[in-house]
């Protein structure tokens, strides 16, 4: 079975509730359109604080979290969840264009982040990663 077939199979399996926390409105809009075409439900937060509020209010199958955001960034979101001992309750994928070392990425995973994706990424790969992470 090819990777594409596998991916298609997964897509048919489940419609996900996805939270996107990213300050880049172009990306959030287009990503939402893409994911909705794939029958997922998306919620968007354009900064960390708003994202944190949404996380606390609603449960999501997977959360795409940008790291570099003005004011309240992705690190602050992770730190806040960590302080409340709820980081591991959420399936967070760090989705970043920042220059970040492998060590730093590993550290985030060690702390409780499920996975990471570095921008730019192939859109199908991103989709597979979302489905894989949600099904873990």
């Amino acid at each position: 079975m090819t990777d594409t077939n596998k991916s298609n199979q997964k897509e048919e399996m489940k419609s996900l509730k996805i939270l996107i926390i990213d300050d880049n409105e172009q990306i959030t809009k287009m990503l939402t359109t893409f994911l909705e075409l794939k029958d997922h439900k998306c919620t968007v937060a354009n900064d960390g604080k708003e994202g944190l509020d949404v996380i606390k209010e609603n449960r999501h199958d997977v959360i795409l979290l940008d790291l570099a955001m003005p004011e309240f960034d992705g690190y602050s979101v992770i730190k806040d969840l960590e302080e409340n001992n709820t980081l591991k309750d959420h399936k967070i994928i760090v989705f970043t264009a920042s220059t970040i070392t492998q060590e730093e990425l590993d550290d985030l995973v060690k702390r409780g982040v499920m996975s990471y994706i570095l921008k730019p990424v192939d859109i199908d790969l991103l989709h597979s990663k979302l489905i894989d992470t949600a099904s873990l």
């Binding site: 990306i27 990503l31 893409f34 075409l37 264009a97 920042s98 921008k119 730019p120 192939d122 859109i123």
Partner: protein, 319 residues
């Protein structure tokens, strides 16, 4: 006589610095004519009411009235004799007395505040409660003191954020007031966007530099406003025809939200004043790299969407 008239003729000529003194004394709660009489006596010395009236060309009845008020204020005194003569206390002593009078007046007002509120509350409200009119109030404020009073009230009552946008020149009239002290004391989140030159004194120099950002010249707009929480804003109006400061206070949600968004946008684009040029440059290089990757990501999603919509479009055409 000749001396008095000659001196008097020169005293209140437009170019004489005594005019400036006269204007300044008005700020100490004297009327222009009270200040004129006081300054006349200070410089000329003991004179009768009639002599003052003639010299200053003020009607005699009004002169008596002015002298009586100045005596009550404690800055001139009468000398026994017939006719009664008048003299003034020294300027420094007089200013002290006038300041004290003002302090006492404020203390009395403060003391009366509670009784006034109690009395007010006793009187039943006759009009109907119009909750809608609670919103969208606009108040025009003229003059430093009325603006400062409102600003102080806003800063003291703030519970979440105080956002300040404006240049040092915009706020220069608040030097030597409690304005910056109150900003320093506020427990709300404080953010100030201002012009900043490290070699020049700045009204915000006593504020924690982490709370102050420098407006980039390219982002510079002629705005000056202060926002309290999500609820109130004072914005300044520059009007060359009016010498006094002019501002408008409002609790209009639409106004507050719009100005808050503008502030937030400018805040994002600006750098902290304690950031060195190198840090700032480095920061922008990182942002540049970062932005390139984001653009690449945008392109990738966009091309996927275009391809998909094209397919969808073709499908429709076929139908």
């Amino acid at each position: 006589m000749a001396l008095t008239e000659t001196v008097e003729e020169g005293m209140f000529q437009a170019e004489n610095p005594i005019h400036e003194l006269n204007r300044m004394l008005v700020k100490y709660d004297l009327t222009p004519n009270q200040a004129k009489v006081y300054l006349f006596l200070s410089k000329i010395g003991i004179k009768t009411a009639s002599e003052i009236s003639k010299a200053l060309k003020i009607p005699r009845t009004e002169t008596y009235h002015l002298l009586s008020t100045l005596q009550q204020k404690g800055i001139i005194f009468s000398v026994f004799g017939k006719p009664t003569k008048f003299n003034s206390t020294g300027l420094e002593e007089s200013l002290g007395i006038l300041l004290n009078n003002e302090r006492n007046r404020i203390s009395e007002l403060e003391a009366g505040k509670d009784s006034l509120i109690k009395l007010w509350n006793i009187i039943p409200k006759y009009g109907e409660d119009d909750t809608e009119s609670q919103d969208n109030k606009f108040q025009s404020l003229q003059g430093r003191n009325s603006i400062l009073g409102k600003l102080e009230q806003m800063i003291k009552e703030s519970k979440e954020t105080i956002l300040v946008l404006g240049t040092d020149a915009d706020f220069k009239k608040f030097y030597f007031t409690e304005f910056t002290e109150l900003l320093n004391k506020t427990k709300s989140e404080l953010r100030i966007l201002t012009d900043h030159q490290s070699d020049m004194p700045n009204i915000f120099e006593s504020i924690d530099p982490n709370k102050v950002k420098k407006i980039d010249d390219k982002n510079r707009e002629d705005f000056c406003f202060i926002i309290k929480d999500d609820s109130e804003v004072i914005f300044f109006i520059s009007n060359n025809k009016v010498k006094e400061m002019l501002a408008v206070w409002t609790d209009s949600k639409a106004f507050v939200t719009t100005l808050k968004s503008l502030f937030s946008l400018m805040w994002k684009k600006s750098h902290h004043i304690n950031e060195t040029d190198a840090e700032s440059l480095l920061g922008s290089e990182i942002t540049y790299e970062h932005r390139l990757r984001e653009i690449e990501q945008e392109k990738m999603i966009l091309s996927y969407l275009k391809e998909n919509f094209k397919l969808l479009g073709n499908g429709k055409d076929r139908r």
